[in-house]
Amino acid sequence: MFLLPLLAAVLLKEDPDLARRLKNRDPQAMADLYDRYGRITFALIFRVVRNEAVAEDLVQETFLRVWNRVHAFDHEKGALGPWVLAVARNRAIDYLRSAEGRLEQSALELEKLDQPGLFVNMENSILNLDRVRALRGAFEKLTPNQRLVLELAYYEGLSQTEMADRLKQPLGTVKTWVRTALKLLRDELGEAAVA
């Protein structure tokens, strides 16, 4: 987990002009966007779907979706990286849920969570090295069960009830693991933001 080469492109200062060039339908901007986020997007989607051919399809869909929706993105206040990563993760989870027959969780709900309008007024550099280090440090402090439930939520899109079924644990226990883990992350990241 956590290899610096994966982060190298992402941690570079975001080109404020990139979103504007994408909105102007500049094909080179799409190439730049892929060069910056293609690797992490593929790694993330592959981690979710565990199939290279499917991951390729979903990466293509992710970038096409960004290209088609960038007109609604606020290029002055928006955070492009978090938006791309949210689209990628949600495409992959949507695929996984369809493949596993978990259709009760509507794809539309996930789509609402990667609307470009939601990615405004975020910190300019939320993917900075200090915060990523803080997140890594926080993850290392989690117990195996706490780490597992966060991974099940993020990489598999499981609800707490589904986690309880999967892990054969009482729902209350799973909820405690989840909330304790999230509180620890919040505290650690809060300190990193202050530092």
Binding site: M1, L3, P5, L6, L7, D26, P27, Q28, M30, A31, Y34, G38, R39, I40, F42, A43, L44, F46, R47, A55, E56, D57, V59, Q60, E61, F63, L64, N68, R69, A79, P82, A86, R89, I93, D94, E109, L110, E111, L113, L118, N121, E123, I126, L127, R131, V132, L135, R136, A153, Y154, G157, L158, S159, Q160, T161, R179, L182, K183, R186, L189
Partner: protein, 257 residues
């Protein structure tokens, strides 16, 4: 739920894994403009984005870049020659400006020349990019067409309305679709190609868009079971694509047995 309780689940909301009851409670707060929930959810979305940085590194295949760019109708060369020429052009422009500056001493004129040179360089770069993209597409198509095992089918022939075109199916290389008179899909929509088997449901074969002139080229790379394929079809779908056609395919190219 109190705000103290809601604060504990903003991240789960951002990940789309809350129960419907919990989710609708946060939705209600957001809909009525609750500042605390708005800020909390935004922070949670930041944290969610950061989770991606914990993922193990896996390198994408090199072809994926080309495929992504082809899906928007562009295919910039991976070569750095374009950049080299652009840098050379920029250096030349600067040199000319310096010479001009020394000769005339007119700073405003020099700035004007520099701006004009930069604009010319940017325009030339864009044109070069488009040309290379078109050339690359043509090369790819020719390579595909030259192979003896490639079979082709047409669609749209004899119809008064567009689109028209051909599909080429190569058992080892994949499916190449060339279309004209295909207007770009409306906002929020895209085109999706389908491989229609002789038995069973259509299989998704990738998303694509046509360019402003109504031309499209889409390649599904990889082996195709030619003997079991009845047709290649295209339908208009939501921009994220669909696992099965949600609209009636408006292109259907049947393959001869």
């Amino acid at each position: 739920m109190t705000h103290e309780e809601l604060r504990e689940i903003y991240e789960l909301y951002a990940l789309g894994v809350l129960s419907p009851e919990e989710k609708s409670e946060i939705d209600e707060h957001l809909e009525r403009g609750c500042a605390e929930c708005g800020a909390g959810v935004r922070r949670a979305m930041e944290v969610s984005a950061m989770f991606a940085t914990l993922t193990e590194q896996v390198n994408p295949p090199k072809r994926l870049r080309k495929r992504v760019l082809a899906s928007i109708g562009a295919q910039p060369a991976t070569s750095r020659w374009t950049s080299v020429w652009a840098i050379a052009a920029a250096c030349l422009a600067i040199a000319l400006v310096i010479v001009g500056l020394k000769t005339t001493g007119d700073l405003d004129e020099a700035r004007h020349q520099l701006r004009a040179s930069n604009e010319q360089r940017d325009e030339a770069q864009r044109e070069l990019l488009v040309s290379r993209s078109q050339l690359s597409n043509v090369r790819e198509a020719l390579q595909f067409l030259n192979e003896p095992e490639t079979v082709q089918a047409t669609f749209g022939g004899g119809k008064a309305l567009p689109p028209r075109g051909r599909v080429f199916v190569n058992p080892s290389r994949g499916v190449l679709l060339l279309a004209s008179h295909l207007p770009p899909a409306p906002a929020g929509r895209t085109y999706e190609m389908w491989v229609v088997p002789k038995k069973g449901n259509p299989l998704p074969a990738g998303l694509f868009q046509s360019d402003a002139q109504g031309n499209a080229m889409h390649l599904l790379a990889g082996p195709v079971n030619r003997a079991q394929t009845a047709a290649i079809a295209v339908s208009e779908e939501p921009e994220s694509g669909s696992p099965a056609p949600t609209t009636k395919p408006f292109i259907v190219a049947p393959l001869a047995d």
